[in-house]
Amino acid sequence: MTATTGADASAQASAEQVRAQVAAWLAENWQPGGGGPRWRERLVDSGWAAPTWPVEWFGRGLHRDLRRVVAEEFTRVGAKPAALDVTQLFANTILAHGTDEQKKSFVRPLALGEHQGCLLYSEPGAGSDLAALQTRADRDGDTWVVNGQKVWTSGAREATHGFLVARTDWDVPKHRGLTFFWLPLDQPGVDIRPIHQVTGGSEFNEVFLTDAVVADSHRLGAVDDGWRVLQTALGFERLIMGAAAGGSSRQRRRADGGETTLADRQSPWTRQIGGADYVELAKKVGKADDPVTRQEIARLYTLEKVNAWNSLRARADAGRGAASPLASIGKLAMSRIVHTGVSVTTNLLGAASVLDGDTDPVAAEVNRSSFAAFVTSIGGGTDQIQRNIIGERVLGLPREPEVDKFVPFREVRKAQATRRFS
C-alpha cells in the first residue's frame, strides 16, 4: 500500500473535526426557518450539500462514514441535509463518467435544482431484457440523432434532461453497442405522453424520440460503452435506497418517481411494519376472533417481520462494506408481502371490497393497492427475474443457454420496439 492520498487523509478526519466544521459553517450561514437568501446556492458552493464529492466538484472530499455526522449537525439546527452525494444520481453518474467540461456544465445546475433529470432506459420492447433496447442514436458530425420510444419514465414532465441509453452499433452483441447521453428534453423531437394507468393515475410517461438531437458533448463515457455507464447509474440508484431494503436497482429507480408513490398507497399496512393496522381493521369488522383471520394476519405479520429483519442483516453487511446476499431477496419478499396484504384486507372487507371511489374509500384504497402490488411484482425486475438473480448471482446456479449472447444485435429476434395503440 502506498501513502494515503489527500482524499483518504480527509476521509480520516475525525468525526469531531467534521462536526465542528459543519457547525461553524451552519452558525454562519443558516437562518432558522429557511436558510435565508440564496441558501441553496451557498450550501452547494460550500461543499456541505455533498460532503463526499471531491473538493474541486462542490464537495468536501469526506469519507462516506462521515455523512451521518454532517446530517446530524444539519438536523440539529433544523436544516435539511441535502445529501446530494446520495440522492443526486444524475450528478453522481456525471461525476463518475463525465469529462471535466461536463462536470463543470452539468453538475451545478443539477445540484441547485435548476436542472431535473429523468431516466430514459426502458422501452416497450426492452423491459426485463433492458440491453435489448432499440432506440437508436446515429452520429451526424458533432451531434447524434435519436429515434425510438422510451417508456415507464417517471418525472419526465418535470425534467429538463434525461439519461438516455441508445443503440449506436447494431453489429455487435446487445450489451456492446449502447451509448449513454444526457439528453435535453426541451426540443421538438421529444414528445412526452403520460400513461393512463389502471389505478387512474399517470405517474409514468412514454417518451417518443423523433429525430431528437443530442450534442456529442452530452455523451457520457465512450461511444458503445453505455452499458458500463448505465451500471454505474443503477448503482447510484441502489445507493439512494441504501442497502437496507434489498431489492434491485430498477425498482429503486422508480422509487423517487411514481412507483413508490403508488407502492406506498398499499400502506398504511405495509408501511407500518408490525401489522397493527390489520389488527385494527380485523377488530373493526368483527373478525378478530375468527381463527382463519387470525392465521392469515399472523402469517402476514410474520412475512413483514422477517423481511424487516432480513433488511437489518443486509444493512449490517453493507455497513461492513460487504455485499449481502440478503439485499437481493427484499424485492421478491416484498412482492409476496404486498400481494398477501391485499388478500388479507380483501378478506377482511368481504363484499365491501367490490366498491370503489367515494362509495367506500377503504375499499378504494385496497383496490388501488391490489394494482400497486403488481408494481412490486413486475416493476423494476419481475418476480421471475428476481428469482433468476437469486439463483444465479447468490446461489451460483448456472445461467440458461443465452440465444442472443454472441449474436450481432441486428440479427437477434426482437420485441416490438414501440407500443401499438389500440
Binding site: S128, W152, H339, A351, F374, S377, I378, G379, R419
Partner: protein
C-alpha cells in the same frame, strides 16, 4: 336459431350408473356446440373490446336495440324460459354455456342478472311468473335479483328487508328495507327481491317503477358490472310462490352460484388465452417469453385451474339439470373454486403481460377487476367453503 333441448335425465346414462351419467353430461351434444358457436360469434361481433369499453363509459351499458336483438334473433333471454311462455325451455347446461361465453368477453349487458331472475321466476308459481317470463323472453323487460344488503351476506341470514302485510294468496305484500350489490339494478325493470316475512325468507317480484322504490348507483371496482343500491319503502311486491319458502330460496341460491361460476370459468378461460397468446408473441432475451419455464409454468398452472373451473361449472350445471342432490355440495364448491381460479388466472395474466398490463388501454385489468370483485359478490370463497364443509358433514 332454436336453442337445443336440455339434456333429459338418463339420456346418457350408461349401464354402470352414476359416473357414466356424468360422462354423458360433459359430452356436449352437437346442439350444445352449435349453441356455443352461435353465441361466441354473436359476442365477438357485437361486443368487441372497443364496444365493451364504449359501454363501460356510457351512462348505461344497456342498449335496448341490442337487448331486443339478443331476444329476437338468439333467444338468449328466453333460454331457460319454458316453451309455453315463449322461451326455449333449455336448462342449466345451456345457460352455463351462454354465460361462459358472455363471461369470456366481459359483456357488460345485464344478461347474468336477467338470467338469475329468470331462474328464480321459473321456480315460482306460473300464476305470478308467466307474464313476467314472457316479457323477459321477448326482450321487453330487463330483470335482476336483489339478494344481499349492505352487510353483504348472500344467504337467508343476510336478508333483513321486511315483507309485511300480505295475505296467504300473495296479495298486498309490501317490502321495506335496503338491498345492496344489486347487479344492473339501475337498468332493471323487474327485480326479484329476497325479503323476510315472519315465517322466513322468500323471493318477491317488484316493479322497478313502483312507488317507494329508489335506486342509486354504487361506485364499483369492476368496470364491466354495475351494481346498485335499492331502497324499498313499503313497495308493493308479489311473492313468486309461497312467501317464505326457504328451501326454494336455498335451491335458487345454489342455481345462482353455479350460473355465476360458469361465467367466471369463461372469464378465466379468456384471461389464460390472453396470457398464452402474449407469451408466444412477446420476445425478450432473443426468444418468446413463453419458452422460459417461469412463464410457461405459470401458464400451465393456470391451465389446470381454468379447466378445473370449467369442470366444476359444467358438473354443477349437469347436477342442476338432473336435479341431483349433489347440487348442494357442487354449488358452493363451484362458486368458491371458480372465483379463485379466475382471480389467480387474472393475476397470472397481469404478471405475464408485465408493465403493459398496468396501462388502462390494455384489457388485462378489466379481467382482473371482474375476477377480484366477482370473487366476493354472491358470497366469498371462504364463506362458500365453510358452507361446503357443513354440507359434506363437518
Amino acid at each position: 336459431m332454436s336453442a337445443p333441448k336440455m339434456l333429459t335425465s338418463g339420456q346418457y346414462l350408461g349401464s354402470t350408473g352414476r359416473l357414466e351419467a356424468a360422462v354423458g353430461t360433459f359430452e356436449f351434444t352437437d346442439d350444445h356446440e352449435a349453441l356455443r358457436s352461435t353465441v361466441r360469434a354473436f359476442v365477438e361481433e357485437t361486443f368487441s373490446e372497443a364496444q365493451v369499453r364504449r359501454l363501460m363509459a356510457a351512462p348505461s351499458a344497456l342498449e335496448r336495440p341490442v337487448w331486443e336483438r339478443m331476444a329476437r334473433e338468439l333467444g338468449l333471454q328466453g333460454l331457460v324460459v319454458p316453451e309455453e311462455y315463449g322461451g326455449a325451455g333449455a336448462g342449466p347446461v345451456e345457460l352455463a354455456i351462454v354465460l361462459e361465453e358472455f363471461g369470456r368477453r366481459l359483456v357488460p349487458v345485464p344478461l347474468l342478472s336477467t338470467a338469475l331472475a329468470t331462474v328464480a321466476l321459473a321456480g315460482g308459481d306460473p300464476a305470478v311468473t308467466a307474464g313476467r317470463l314472457e316479457a323477459v323472453a321477448e326482450g321487453r323487460v330487463v330483470a335482476t335479483v336483489a339478494l344481499a344488503e349492505d352487510d353483504g351476506g348472500w344467504d337467508a341470514a343476510g336478508v333483513h328487508c321486511a315483507a309485511v302485510g300480505g295475505d296467504r294468496d300473495g296479495d298486498g305484500w309490501r317490502l321495506t328495507g335496503t338491498k345492496s350489490f344489486v347487479p344492473d339494478g339501475l337498468d332493471a325493470d323487474l327485480l326479484v327481491v329476497a325479503a323476510r316475512t315472519d315465517a322466513g325468507v322468500g323471493l318477491f317480484a317488484v316493479d322497478s317503477a313502483a312507488d317507494g322504490l329508489s335506486r342509486s348507483a354504487l361506485e364499483v371496482f369492476d368496470l364491466t358490472r354495475r351494481l346498485a343500491r335499492v331502497r324499498l319503502d313499503g313497495v308493493a311486491a308479489t311473492p313468486l310462490a309461497a312467501p317464505a319458502d326457504e328451501a326454494a330460496f336455498d335451491r335458487f341460491l345454489d342455481a345462482a352460484r353455479i350460473a355465476v361460476a360458469a361465467e367466471q370459468a369463461g372469464g378465466a378461460d379468456f384471461a389464460l388465452a390472453m396470457a398464452v397468446g402474449y407469451a408466444k408473441e412477446r420476445v425478450q432475451f432473443g426468444r418468446a417469453i413463453g419458452s422460459f419455464q417461469a412463464i410457461k409454468h405459470l401458464c400451465a398452472d393456470a391451465f389446470v385451474d381454468v379447466e378445473s373451473a370449467r369442470s366444476a361449472a359444467y358438473y354443477g350445471a349437469w347436477a342442476l339439470a338432473q336435479d341431483s342432490p349433489e347440487v348442494a355440495t357442487v354449488a358452493p364448491l363451484a362458486k368458491a373454486f371458480c372465483s379463485e381460479a379466475f382471480f389467480a388466472t387474472a393475476q397470472t395474466n397481469m404478471q405475464v403481460h408485465g408493465g403493459i398490463s398496468f396501462t388502462y388501454e390494455h384489457p388485462a385489468h378489466l379481467y382482473y377487476r371482474r375476477a377480484r370483485s366477482g370473487a366476493q359478490l354472491w358470497g366469498s370463497p371462504r364463506t362458500h367453503r365453510d358452507l361446503l364443509a357443513t354440507r359434506i358433514g363437518l
